[in-house]
């Protein structure tokens, strides 16, 4: 397991804690494994667990499901199971997280 983490790039825990970048990192880490809803440029919406992101805002969602239209209720059309999906940053239109998970990410929203 240890070697695996090394291979997986620098771990954010080793970063100094003072800079604004480390704060941003903490915020993003707080979102990890939360349910996330991302709307894409072609109108589809993906819902899945937030697993990974980078500087270009490429996002990887786990157990993702594809919905054809962005709607608040999922009555229109059944989702399609995609599994692990990467959404390129330039195709991300909007990002939402589920509210009941928001308590521990309060800092994230409050700080904007």
């Amino acid at each position: 397991m240890a070697t695996m983490i090394e291979e997986n790039g620098p771990s954010s825990h080793e970063q100094p804690e003072v800079s604004s970048s480390s704060q941003a990192r903490l915020k993003l880490e707080g979102l990890l494994n939360k349910n996330m809803r991302i709307r894409m440029t072609d109108g589809r919406t993906l819902v899945g667990l937030f697993l990974c992101t980078d500087r270009d805002c490429n996002v990887i969602l786990g157990s993702a499901q594809e919905f054809l239209k962005s709607t608040d209720t999922f009555s229109q059309g059944e989702p399609r199971v995609l599994g692990l999906a990467m959404i390129p940053g330039h195709h991300v239109v909007s990002i939402e997280v589920e509210a009941d998970n928001l308590e521990d990410t309060q800092g994230f929203v409050a700080n904007h």
Binding site: S12, C52, R80, L84, M86, I95
Partner: protein, 724 residues
């Protein structure tokens, strides 16, 4: 961009995975701005991720909005509504009655193309079920189209059942998924063929009604109509014949196989008429020559897009209508060949039949039909013979073991009977597997042959024990007879055949590099074929010994039989062929060694491996076999060392020796009475190679550094050597 959910009712299953809380109206909070802002703070190339998630996992993610990976994107970018059958009827963009003749012909032809594409390994969802009519034939009011849609569904259903039952496919051959489509299961096969027949009769009346009468001034419009009625009639009839033939294959009696053969032959007769009337059908509105999905009434390539698995989309290129008839006629030829299997009754003949059939790389349907015709419900051969009896017959034919001879005291001995029966029972599963292996596609066969050697090694062990037990029994009862290595010889023969096939198929599949040829051909010629020939001659002498005893017993009664001595030995053809193969391999081996001496074989710079590693990998499956024992690399090097000759041969000597081997092979093959195509194929390689080797021995182009070419076009296993 308007996109309607195409499948609202029948894919409810996909939604099952949604956690309950997501179905509730959870409170979603928009964090787009903050998220993007935070991302920008990350370093270039830095990944923010969970401890348990890393680059390795990330690699398996599908990339959205990449047309090569994102199947959902295609459906979303089409500027038209994707409608399912019911919706299309409601919006009246599809006709369910009063279709014109060209429409019917066009729809049927496109369906045929979809069917073929499915049989070639694509998913049903992307082929046959892009035709909206087959989604629910009950909604069709036009009788010809309705019966056709039902017929196609039945054909698919039976074909799928056969392929599944035979289990000789892998994902590259066939997609067994049905996505919950209904395959006309509410209607019986008989009802569908009846409906097709009714439509056919009705159409025949129309054809007759528009037929030209003698002396009549022909109206071109009537003539055209006549042609179109005829085209439709032929298509419906073809569908019925194919369906009836497939139904015949589902029956358990062997006689129905003959019936199927007749039916497909009738279907084949209609094909040219179908081909010449393709232009009568409506064409799709888009250019399908590049294999694009046809877009025409009744077809919606995207209707099932959301049913596709989340792996990257595989585009199903629907075959062109022009190629449809050619495919069907080849398919029918293959099915006819399959039907011939019932005329072969001995096990060795059947094994040869299967391997010969497999050599033409047949489609998965014909391969499966062959399997299911051979072993009906995996119990009895052709539904009548026990596999055990076939094995006994094969043993009698091959080594004539005393225990299976009616004239031997062992035949009625209880203990001997128990021994042989349990051995034969143990044989039956490995031999069924061996036959099944021949049903797989060529590349998979090799892999599976490597594995089945383990089972044959176990059989070998048992065969030797049973031989020994039977021999000691026989010594007590009839001391003048022997039961030595009878069963063992037979299993060894099959072992060797499997090993040889395993090695040879590597040439066919182009697995070996040129610098590997020499040890492969060495192993074949010096080892496997040598063993095979001694095994065959042992079997032959065992047969003769048995015949002598039978003759002696008969002699007392009539002296006539002794004159029949000159009859052809049953195994002589196989011995001859093995000699030819051995000479071909030996010739190739010496050629390769000599070419290497002249620096004409490109050898890789071994960095991470060595020749030994490659050698051991090539022969790895043989390690499970006890007899013949595997030859290890060190042994091979010792045995093939040229320094043990005095003086060591040079390249010219080796070329000359190779030439002699090819010459010898040619001589052997030219003496074969009634040569089969295989004999001619080998001769086509042997003859030019004799000449090339003589030239090389004479120093022809010795200085050229250009690498020789190996042309496998005449024979799969032996190349014609070309010096450039």
């Amino acid at each position: 961009m308007v996109m309607k959910s195409a499948v609202e009712d029948d894919d409810a299953g996909w939604g099952l995975g949604i956690p309950e809380k997501m179905k509730n109206n959870a409170n979603w909070v928009d964090i787009t701005h903050e998220f993007k802002g935070a991302c920008k703070e990350l370093n270039l190339g830095e990944l923010l991720h969970d401890k348990l998630f890393g680059l390795f996992e990330a690699m398996s993610a599908i990339e959205m909005m990449d047309p090569k990976m994102d199947a959902g994107m295609i459906g979303n970018q089409v500027n038209r509504k994707v409608l399912n059958f019911e919706q299309a009827i409601k919006e009246s963009v599809i006709k369910v009655k009063d279709l014109s003749l060209p429409e019917l012909i066009g729809i049927i032809d496109t369906c045929f193309c979809c069917l073929i594409t499915w049989l070639e390994g694509h998913s049903l969802a992307q082929t046959v079920f892009t035709c909206l009519y087959v989604h629910n034939p009950d909604l069709i009011e036009e009788p010809a189209l309705k019966s056709f849609a039902l017929g196609i569904l039945k054909v698919c259903d039976i074909a799928r059942e056969k392929v599944n039952k035979a289990a000789v496919f892998e994902e590259e051959d066939f997609q067994a998924m049905t996505y919950g489509f209904k395959m006309a299961n509410n209607v019986t096969d008989l009802r569908v063929t009846g409906m097709l027949k009714d439509v056919e009769d009705e159409l025949q009346r129309k054809v007759k009604g528009t037929r030209s009468r003698q002396g009549e001034q022909r109206n071109p419009e009537v003539e055209l109509e006549h042609q179109q009625w005829l085209a439709l009639f032929n298509r419906i009839k073809f569908t019925r014949l194919i369906l009836t033939a497939l139904i015949a294959f589902t029956k358990k009696e062997t006689s129905s196989v003959g019936e199927a053969q007749k039916l497909v032959a009738q279907a084949a007769d209609i094909l040219s008429a179908i081909h010449s009337s393709i232009q009568h059908g409506i064409q799709s509105q888009n250019d399908t020559t590049k294999g694009d999905h046809p877009i025409m009434m009744g077809f919606e390539p995207l209707v099932n897009q959301r049913l596709l698995p989340p792996t990257f989309p595989r585009y199903a290129k629907i075959i062109k209508r022009e190629d449809m008839v050619a495919y069907f006629s080849k398919l029918i030829e293959r099915i006819k060949t399959v039907c011939d299997v019932i005329n072969t009754t001995n096990l060795h003949g059947i094994l040869d039949f299967f391997s010969e059939f497999s050599e033409q790389s047949p489609c998965v349907l014909s391969r499966s039909l062959l399997q299911t015709t051979f072993l009906i419900d995996n119990k009895k051969v052709f539904g009548t013979h026990l596999m055990q009896d076939m094995i006994k017959d094969a043993l009698r034919y091959f080594v004539s073991p005393p225990v299976l001879s009616y004239k031997c005291c062992l035949f009625n001995n209880h203990q001997a009977k128990d021994y042989i029966d349990s051995f034969v029972t143990h044989c039956s599963r490995p031999f069924c597997s061996l036959i099944q292996i021949h049903g797989h596609n060529r590349a998979r066969q090799r892999d599976k042959l490597g594995h089945i050697l383990e089972e044959f090694a176990t059989l070998q062990d048992e065969a030797e024990k049973v031989d020994a037990a039977l021999h000691s029994l026989l010594m007590k009862l009839e001391p003048q007879r022997q039961h030595l290595a009878c069963l063992g010889t037979w299993i060894l023969y099959h072992n060797l055949r499997i090993m040889i096939q395993y090695l040879l198929s590597g040439f066919e599949l182009e697995l070996y590099s040129m610098h590997e040829y020499y040890y492969i051909y060495w192993y074949l010629s010096e080892f496997l074929y040598a063993w095979l020939m001694s095994t065959l001659s042992r079997a032959d002498s065992s047969q003769m010994a048995e015949e002598r005893i039978t003759e002696e017993q008969v002699k007392g009664r009539s002296s006539k039989k002794t004159k029949k001595k000159k009859k052809v030995r049953p195994l002589s053809k196989e011995i001859t062929m093995s000699q030819a193969y051995q000479n071909m391999c030996a010739g190739m081996y010496k050629t390769m060694v000599a070419l290497d001496m002249d620096g004409k074989v490109h050898k890789p710079q071994f960095e991470l491996d060595s020749e030994q590693v490659r050698y051991e990998h090539r022969f790895a499956p043989f390690n499970s076999v006890v007899t013949p024992p595997p030859v290890h690399y060190i042994q091979f090097k010792e045995m093939s060392d040229l320094k043990k000759y005095n003086p060591p041969p040079g390249s010219a000597d080796l070329y000359l020796a190779a030439s002699k081997h090819f010459q010898q092979a040619k001589l052997i093959l030219e003496n074969v009475t009634s040569p089969d195509p295989e004999v001619n194929r080998i001769l086509k390689v042997a003859k030019p190679n004799i000449v090339v080797m003589k030239l090389l021995a004479g120093g022809h182009k010795k200085e050229t550094k250009a690498l020789p070419e190996f042309d496998f076009s005449a024979h799969k296993y032996f190349p014609v050597v070309k010096i450039i």
